[in-house]
């Protein structure tokens, strides 16, 4: 049965720790995509995703808004990615590190804000997006899975697309403003 993030978090806190596997199952793919876009390396992204989930589990009691689990998880993942990068720098020789930085910068894409935008969608919108695009279900399969009419799925997708586009446009505007301010 599909519970909300809040319900899964509360069940985990109540001692049903096995339910954390359902949160991992729900968010492993978008989290991986987010990290792959940030670090530009699939193996490192998978390692960082594992670490992020484990840290999230160990800190679950500190999560003040269980309904914001995914946003919170992305925050943890961002810190893990930073630590991973710093750790790489320490491990390698300087010239190797420089090469890695260049490779990472070249391989990383600019798509990770997409997962950040998905994270702040209302939960029902987010679930439909994740099931349709990250789990690869058809709209009809999403409707069956969530026990809702097909028309509700397409309406929810429409609304989710609108919110995502607004969010991504706002991020692009903010980025442009930063770039302008950084110019000499």
């Amino acid at each position: 049965m599909d519970l909300t993030d809040k319900e899964y978090v509360e069940r985990c806190r109540d001692g049903h720790q096995e339910d954390f596997s359902l949160l991992v199952d729900r968010y492993q793919k978008p989290l991986f995509s987010y990290l792959a876009a940030r670090v530009g390396n699939f193996a490192q992204a998978e390692e960082a995703a594992q670490e992020s989930f484990v840290r999230a589990f160990l800190s679950l009691k500190k999560l003040r808004k269980p309904e914001s689990f995914y946003s919170w998880l992305l925050g943890i993942a961002g810190r893990v990615a930073q630590e991973q990068f710093r750790s790489d720098l320490r491990r390698r020789q300087i010239h190797e590190a420089a090469e890695t930085m260049m490779t990472s910068a070249a391989d990383a894409d600019e798509e990770y804000p997409l997962e950040e935008a998905i994270a702040v969608l209302p939960e029902n919108h987010r679930q439909v997006i994740l099931l349709r695009y990250y789990e690869g279900l058809s709209c009809q399969e999403v409707a069956t899975r969530l026990a809702m009419p097909l028309g509700t799925v397409t309406k929810t997708l429409s609304r989710a697309f609108l919110l995502l586009r607004q969010d991504l446009q706002a991020r692009e505007r903010a980025e442009q403003t930063v770039n302008l301010n950084e110019q000499p």
Binding site: Q28, F32, E111, Y133, T154, S158, R165
Partner: protein, 441 residues
């Protein structure tokens, strides 16, 4: 088709869900309206990005790896673990394949701070000795009814066997058996079977499920001991150490930990499950090998301490037959799964637990199994045979349990004339908000 109608159809169009006629109309409008065309392209572009992101992550499968790590790393002092529960519950443990050899002939009880420090050191060495297990097999005896909950403690019952097989590598798999109940996780899904005809399948590979968590925690021997040590240090759990000479002539260390469940004696669940009982745990270590040899758990009841669990056999890194993790169910099994929202779901959501108990029993009395099935998940034939034709004598006022259930006292007269007076446990299903039967029949 105008602009508003066309835009309403963007997602359905991009997803290929429009009827042919509507699709043609939409395309015709897009050809003539530059604004809508640009808007549609933005939607389609976002759709392509999302599909590409999903495809890039298609092969990702982290659940088992993460949950294995979670199991290994979750023993900080403030975190509740099996062992901390055991300590809280004042269990008595004595681990070891040679539990039978623990016929102690000499005992020196030590309670000084120095002795407690030594107890921690023994436990720490015991933990190190069993670190990096790839598999484990535990066999013990538990006072419980054969078919009842894996976690239920029933001091009035005789001992029944309980076994756990667990493979940590290369993929996590496990099986727990009692005479009337089996749970299996085969790496893909998790299955519960209660004899003779009740089944429930969870489509995920759960690291533990169906109230087997306490046994899994014991199976993670190294973590269990480490987390107990952390709990002792952080929370000041009382610990005693006894130096003993076993029947085999070897020197043993017996470490007892007292723990409280935190529940009052008036709590309905008090002393009914491992997680809600006051217990004493006893661990027996062989001083030469430093290995844990046996575990015992004693229940603290008003009538005195009673042994409720003893671990007879601990086999580390055994070769486990893959067939152990397969379970063939009889053909007559009724399978439970996610509850479905009913057309008249709200009617059942609006019920109090007393009303739900009444409706459940009345439906069974009428042998209206369609109606009764709305409260059971699943409703096997054995339950129908047992409850069919019953008469309700009385339904009492509910009270709440600490596990979120509402408990409704009831008295019914079964078709064979037997009168049953007990407490029905009902919980609300999280996805449908309806009451469902959680135990007590």
């Amino acid at each position: 088709m105008n602009c508003a109608e066309c835009r309403d159809n963007f997602i359905a169009c991009a997803e290929g869900l429009l009827e042919r006629q509507d699709e043609l109309q939409c395309q015709a409008h897009l050809e003539t309206c530059a604004q809508c065309r640009a808007e549609y392209e933005a939607v389609a572009s976002l759709q392509r990005r999302l599909i590409a992101r999903g495809q890039a992550a298609a092969g990702v499968s982290l659940v088992q790896t993460v949950m294995r790590r979670v199991q290994r790393e979750q023993f900080t002092p403030e975190r509740e673990t099996i062992m901390s529960k055991l300590f809280r519950n004042r269990w008595g443990w004595g681990l070891g394949t040679a539990a039978g050899a623990a016929a102690i002939v000499a005992v020196i009880l030590l309670t000084t701070p120095k002795a407690q420090a030594r107890a921690l050191e023994i436990m720490s060495k015991g933990a190190q000795a069993v670190a990096k297990l790839t598999s484990i097999h535990l066999r013990g005896q538990l006072r419980s009814a054969p078919q009842d909950n894996f976690s239920a403690i029933m001091p009035e019952c005789d001992f029944v066997s309980i076994e756990l097989w667990k493979q940590f590598e290369p993929a996590l798999k496990w099986r727990v058996d009692k005479p009337g109940r089996t749970a299996v996780m085969d790496g893909q899904s998790t299955l519960l079977f209660i004899k003779p005809d009740f089944g429930y399948k969870v489509p995920q590979a759960s690291p533990s499920a169906f109230d087997t968590q306490w046994l899994h925690e014991i199976a993670n021997l190294s973590q269990t001991l480490e987390s107990e040590i952390n709990a002792i240090k952080a929370r000041g759990w009382p610990v005693t150490l006894a130096d003993e000479q076993g029947a085999d002539g070897k020197s043993k260390s017996v470490i007892s930990v007292e723990a409280k469940s935190g529940l009052g004696a008036g709590d309905y669940l008090h002393n009914k499950f491992f997680s809600t009982a006051d217990t004493r745990h006893e661990y027996v270590f062989d001083n030469q090998s430093e290995l844990l040899e046996s575990v015992k758990v004693y229940l603290h009841a008003a009538s005195g301490d009673q042994l409720v669990f003893k671990l007879d056999e601990i086999d580390c890194n055994p070769a486990i037959d893959p067939a152990v993790f397969q379970l063939q169910l009889p053909a007559n099994v009724s399978m439970g799964g996610p509850m479905q929202v009913l057309p008249d779901n709200q009617k059942y959501v609006a019920m109090t637990s007393e009303q739900a108990a009444r409706a459940l029993f009345d439906a069974c009395g009428r042998e209206d199994w369609t109606e009764a099935a709305k409260f059971f998940n699943p409703l096997p034939d054995s339950m129908k045979q047992y409850l069919g034709g019953l008469q309700v004598v009385s339904i009492g006022t509910h009270f709440s349990a600490s596990n979120g259930a509402e408990l409704v006292p009831y008295e019914i007269k079964l078709k064979n004339g037997q009168v049953k007076k007990f407490t029905l446990s009902l919980k609300r299903d999280r996805s449908t908000s309806r009451w469902f039967f959680d135990g007590g029949i």
